[in-house]
Each structure stands twice: as structure tokens, then as C-alpha cells.
Amino acid sequence: MIKINSTIHRFLTDDALRTFPDECCGFLVGTETGEERVVEEIIVVNNAKDGDKRRRFEITPLDYLKAERAADEKNLLLLGVYHSHPNHPSVPSEHDRVVAQPYFSYVIVAVRENEFVSLQSWRLNDASQFEEEKVEGYLPESAESTPRPYPSSR
């Protein structure tokens, strides 16, 4: 389970909307007690993908190094990575899976132009497959922004 409060949620959504139609990316920093993770802050990182940023993201090793140092200095943990899926569901792609690291929470924010769609978190299991990780602590600011499953069907 990963706790993402409404402020962190807004930061994540803002980054995804600001970067649209490109993918945004960054790190989740916080604490871990047993199975419970709490995101205390996020580190926004430049999408360094050389090419199609609308469907790909990449974080440079140096940005990784800086993020991990920053977390260590604050006595916090690098809990995982977030990125956005513009016009795609908040479900990891096969491309996400093959390069994913164990332990990390992978938070995916699905957005459309000017609109948040959904947010989900995923972790690799021992068989190197993604399993959804429960997200808690997010209070929608209004019914309008309630995450709904994507693709929406009615």
C-alpha cells in the first residue's frame, strides 16, 4: 500500500498536465514501515528521452544519482518512480515492465489534454510481473476530479 495525499496527488497531476502531450517523469521520496509506504515529496525530473517523448520517458543516470543523494540526505527513501501516460490508461506497458526495477513503486498518471483521468501504482512481483499496489490517502477535491477507470465506458 502506498499513501499519496491530496497535495502530492496534485503535484503529480500538475506535472502530467503541464508536460502533456509528452510523458512526464520523476521520483517518489518518502518512508516505509513494513508494507506501508508514505510519499512525502516528489522530485520532478526532465524527460531525457531522445525521440518520441509522447510515448517514452527516460531519466539520466545523473538525475537518478542526485535524487538518491537528496533522499539519503533527508533520511528518506527513494520509494519509486512516477510517469504519465498521455491519452493512455494508467496501466504499465510491456515497455515499462521490461526495464522496471524490483522494489520500486511505479506510479502512472493517465491524463488527457487539460484533464486528469486516473492514477495507479504498480510493483514488480518475484516473477517480474507488475501487480497493482493499493493507493490510499487521496481525497478528491471535488466529484469532478474523482479518478475513474480508463478507458471510460458507459
Binding site: 543516470p61 527513501l77 518512480v81 493512455h88 506497458s93 465506458s153
Partner: protein
Amino acid sequence: MATIIIPTPLRKFTNQQNKVTVGGTTIKESIDELTLNFPDLKKNLIDEKGNLRSFVNIFVGDDDIRDLNEENTAVKAETVISIIPAIAGGSTDYENITFSKEEQARYNRHIIIPGFGLEAQKKLKAAKVLVVGSGGLGSPVLLYLAAAGVGNIGIVDFDVVDDSNLQRQVLFGVTEVGKSKVEAAKARIQSLNPHINDTTYNTQLTSKNALEIISQYDVVADGTDNFPTRYLVNDASVIAGKPNVYASIFQFEGQVSVFNYTNAKGETGPNYRDLYPTPPPPGLVPNCAEGGVLGVLPGIIGSLQANEVIKVITGVGETLSGRFFVFDALTFETRTLKISKQANTPVIKELIDYEQFCGVKAVEKKIKEISVDEFVQWQKSGEDIQVIDVREPAEYEQVNIGALLIPLATVAERAGEISRDKKVVVHCKLGGRSSKAIRELEEKFGFDNLYNLKGGITAVEQESDLLKAVNV
């Protein structure tokens, strides 16, 4: 002794230590010592051949050892070595797409185009395109997208192949007449390209199913022939955030555009409602079945539509987003009009009843028809039938087949003269007015015994033998 910084995801293999001190004079020696002390780390860092895994970066200070002396980079006592996992991902999988030998050969003429290449071909194979309507426009669109190697194609159509389709719907031949269009289309494109997947929806696209279907695709190609479905496809594409490659044809004129397309800067272009906020009054613009269309026109316009779909998928070239292309087959004149988002159009939030919105049915109920041949058979067999001519008196005077004259404008008031208990054949000059008369009589008076004479009196005249047979 150098220090190795262990990245967070691998700390579970080092008893949660974030730093480990090791000996060694080169990176290779230091890493070897590390994996010797923490054997579980090894499979995460070193591949089967004993080399560092490609998604692991090793830095000395702030420098990648790939820029230094690789694994032989010297290590001193004060050296800080960092193991850095590669962090990347994406939303789609085209980069992982591979091609068989057969596919490579098939797509060779794409792959060798400068600026297109293997990258664009991978995007085509990863793409999911929904083609709405497999008729005149859908035929070239489906054929060319399948041939081009679009990996996943959805086809929506509820119709059945009819003789009158073959003048323009080149997906089908005489052996498909009577079969469902989606099944016939699927068989045709599978025989053209067995390397692609297709999904068929043998149904009418409606406000109930449109979002569910469209949201499973990356791009929509709208080849529908009526306003309710056109507005539905537009609105559903906007809600689902999908580009809508639009085309339409009428008589000698065709139109193409790309709606709701988000460019590299994140700007979304206009959609159909920025151009036409509301539909034209019912009956003002006839459809192909009523107004006719030159058979080659959908071939031209549908091919342009397929071209735009390929550009939207691959990102190669400039799409028609924000532009509206018009082609006149008679004069060979083309115009490309600039179109833009209108500030005052309401935001499209949900799907509505589009038949009500447009004041017309998306699908007109089929009326019963007979050919001149069948008509003659009925007469010869002595069956008691009533024949009604709905043309004007002047036309009747020139030529008639002895039918009861009830001009179209008067059918409602004279409905009482039309028999209800035997077969009634209704004709006009070509079959258009008589079909209107039949619709009106069926809707207002509940007739169920009316037959439209296909081709009208003109078809009778063309068969001189038959002309005698019906004693004109």
C-alpha cells in the same frame, strides 16, 4: 578501499546497506568483490556471459565508466562508485516490435524510404485503428491500412453486401453479396495481409457502445455516410481523446480532414463541431443512397484518408489537422481550407441521442424492392397486383405502363385508393420518388404490401422485350 553506493532497489540484497566498502584496483575487481560478498546481487548486475547488464550504469563520481576506461577504470581508496539502474518506460510498445523475415520483405518499400524507415513501420505494427464503416470509403482505407501493416484494425459495420455496393465498394465481389460486410471485409484483408490482427463489430455504432469500442483504439477513421453517426464518431473521439481522420463523399465531391489531433506542442486541433456545430436541417443534404456518388470518388478520397491515418500514427509529415481538403472530381479542382477551434462551441462531455439531434435516422429501414424481371414474372403468372405510378401527369402522358397515377405529393391524401390486401408495385422514373412514397405510406398508414420497382420506368424502357411484355 573504495566505496560502492548501492541503489535503493538493490539494497535488499545487501542487508539494507546503502554503502559497501570494497577492495580492488579496477571497477571489474571491485564489482567482483561486491558480488562475491553479496551473491544475490550478482544476477541483477551481471548477465550470463559475465558482462555488466545493459540496464545497469556504473558511475565513478559523476562520470559514466563508459566515458572513462569501462570496466578497467582505475579505482583508488577515495573513489566513490555508484550503481545506477536505468529508469525508463513509456505508454506503448512499438520499440519492442519485431518483424519476421516475411514481414521485412513485405514492408521493404516502406522501410527504405528516408524519414520513414523501420521506426515508422514499428509504429504501424503497434497501432490500433478503428475503421467505422466498411463501404465506399472503408474499402480503400481497410485495403491500404492492411497492406501498409497497421497491426490492429477494428471494423464496425452492421450492413450486408448488396449488388448496388459493388459499383464502389472494392473490398467485395459477387461471391460476398448477401454476407455481412465485416466478415467479408475481414476475410479480404486477411488474405491481403496475414501478419495483422483484426477485430470485427457487426453492429451499428451507437451512443451506448461507441466509447467502449473507440477507447480501445489509437486512431479512428470515419467513413460513415450519415450525420447522426458522423456526430457520434466525432463526439466519442473527442471524449476518448483520439484523433479522428474524417472523410466524406457526395456525387462528385469529396472532403478529408483530421479532427481532434494533438500536435507535438500539445495543441489539439479543431473537430467536426468546430466546423459544423449543428447538423443541416433533415432532408437538405441527401446521402449517397439518395443522391448518388461516382464510384471512383471514394477510391480517391478513401486513399487520402488512409494516407492521413498513416501520418497520424507515424508522426511523419504534416497531418491535415486544422485544414479541410475538398476535391471536385468534375473540374479537378482542389481546395485546402484553414479551419480553427471555435471559442464558443460547448465542451463535448457526453454522448447524446444523435438521431434526435440530427432529426434523421442513422439507418433507414429498408423497403421491399422488386426488379423488372421479377415484376414481369408476377404479371405473367397472372398474380393480381396493383401498380401505382407516383410521377407527374406530364411524365405519365409521355410514357406509362398502365399504372394508377398518384403523384408523390398526393399519396397521403389518396392513400385510400391503394390496396391493402394484394401486392402493390410502386414506380416512378428511376426509383427515388417511389421509395419516398413507400416510406411515407408505411410510416403514416402502416402499409406492408408495397414493393418499389428497382430502376423505375427507365429500367422497363431499357428492356425492349419486357416493354412488349408489359404492353406499354
